[in-house]
């Protein structure tokens, strides 16, 4: 049976979920940790509403409005699935990122290796700078 640990760090609303039975590669783990640090910094930027970071074994969520968690998680997951389909249809290679612009909010979904980060921000937030910070 999978044992799950839920702990809060960084901010009060941050949830870290780790599957302890899995043994992720050290490198993968390092990327995840590095991404989590970057996202925590980005989360303090003006206009950023929160983020979801996940890979096969762990997830970190920090949203200013935690009630949106389910909707945001479903949206980012669907965007990544649709991205895969569209990439196959038009042969545009592996999807690096997806920008979803809503009328009120926009979401930037980024894939780095096995890690998938979704950052939610206000419509006028500078997503290009955020993308650069996460990608490098």
């Amino acid at each position: 049976m999978v044992k799950k640990k839920k702990s809060t760090d960084e901010t009060e609303t941050t949830a870290v979920i780790t599957d302890e039975t899995a043994a992720p590669a050290v490198e993968e783990d390092r990327t995840f940790t590095s991404l989590r640090t970057k996202l925590a910094e980005i989360n303090n930027c003006k206009g950023v509403l929160g983020y979801i970071l996940r890979n096969a074994t762990s997830a970190t969520i920090d949203l200013k409005d935690p009630t949106k968690l389910t909707e945001y998680a479903i949206l980012s997951s669907q965007a990544l699935d649709s991205g895969k389909e569209i990439s196959e249809l038009f042969h545009i290679g592996d999807i690096e990122n997806i920008l979803i612009e809503g009328k009120d909010i926009k979401a930037l979904c980024i894939t780095i290796g096995e890690n998938k980060a979704s950052i939610f921000m206000e419509r006028d937030a500078a997503h290009a700078g955020i993308l650069r910070r996460v990608s490098h």
Partner: protein, 271 residues
């Protein structure tokens, strides 16, 4: 017939967009689940699958206030789907394509063309899609729905009808086009606070459209619904030509509650 005119216009708009931006490999228009027009490179099945994948996202966008656009960046290309005038336009480009340029182009060109067609063939696109009003439905929805060839549309489009529609709208003064433009700052000592500067390509279009009419003012509206009527001048710097830019004095930006990088619409006031 009117819907055929729309299909024809959309099809030719795609053709022009692709001519101007060779980096676009595929392009098509759709509304809900119907493909309204597509280029020759895009097959029906691919377009339908894209719409299905896209609709799966739109169904989940309540949390972000509904979907306006989505861009998939792949390692070797990009797919962008943007809402324009109740339609969605899908463009597939190489990675090198200038996204801003293509967006500006499509957001200026498509609404202008649609507005013109609407003026000549006044029918509500909102009520019926092009395909549902095709004159002789074949019974096979998919096969009948897609406008396969611009030439076919051209043949079917009766020129007499276009000519007949014109006298009805008196001395044919087209409805002023609404152009979506991106805000840039306009500052300096000699800058009048009641005058905006607009992309010269857009003002040239207006001039062409209303050859002998006087256009001195423009209605500027933000996405929040704030509007103002002010004077305008074309931007002289050729670097800005065709980029869909409107330079607004800071004081006016405050009044309109907009700022650099945001989108506004501009409609000429024809006197």
């Amino acid at each position: 017939m009117d819907n055929e005119a729309y299909a024809f216009a959309l099809k030719n708009t795609l053709k022009e967009i692709k001519n101007i931006s060779p980096n676009i490999s595929h392009a098509f228009f759709f509304k809900e689940e119907k493909i309204l027009a597509k280029d020759e490179n895009t097959d029906e099945e691919t377009a339908n699958s894209t719409v299905t994948a896209f609709n799966a996202i739109t169904e989940r966008t309540n949390a972000i206030g509904g979907l306006e656009s989505v861009t998939f960046h792949g390692t070797s290309g990009k797919v962008n789907i943007t809402c324009i005038n109740d339609f969605y336009l899908a463009t597939i480009t190489s990675k090198e394509a200038d996204e801003k340029y293509i967006n500006t182009l499509t957001r200026v060109l498509v609404p202008t063309v649609l507005k013109l067609v609407e003026k000549i063939h006044p029918v509500s696109i909102d009520q019926d899609t092009l395909t549902t009003e095709k004159p002789e439905p074949t019974g096979d929805n998919n096969a009948g729905e897609i406008i396969e060839d611009a030439e076919v549309c051209e043949k079917e489009l009766p020129m007499e009808e276009t000519a007949a529609a014109e006298p009805e709208s008196e001395p044919l003064l087209p409805e002023p086009p609404v152009n979506q433009l991106m805000v840039e700052n306009l500052s300096g000592l000699l800058v009048p606070s009641d005058t905006v500067r607009i992309d010269s390509a857009v003002t040239a279009q207006w001039k062409d459209l209303y050859a002998d009419k006087k256009i001195e003012k423009v209605d500027v509206e933000t996405l929040n619904g704030k509007t103002t009527r002010c004077k305008f001048k074309p931007i002289k710097d050729p670097k800005h030509e065709g980029k869909g830019i409107i330079q607004i004095p800071e004081k006016m930006q405050l009044t309109l509650q907009t700022k650099k990088g945001e989108l506004v619409t501009a409609k000429p006031v024809v006197e």
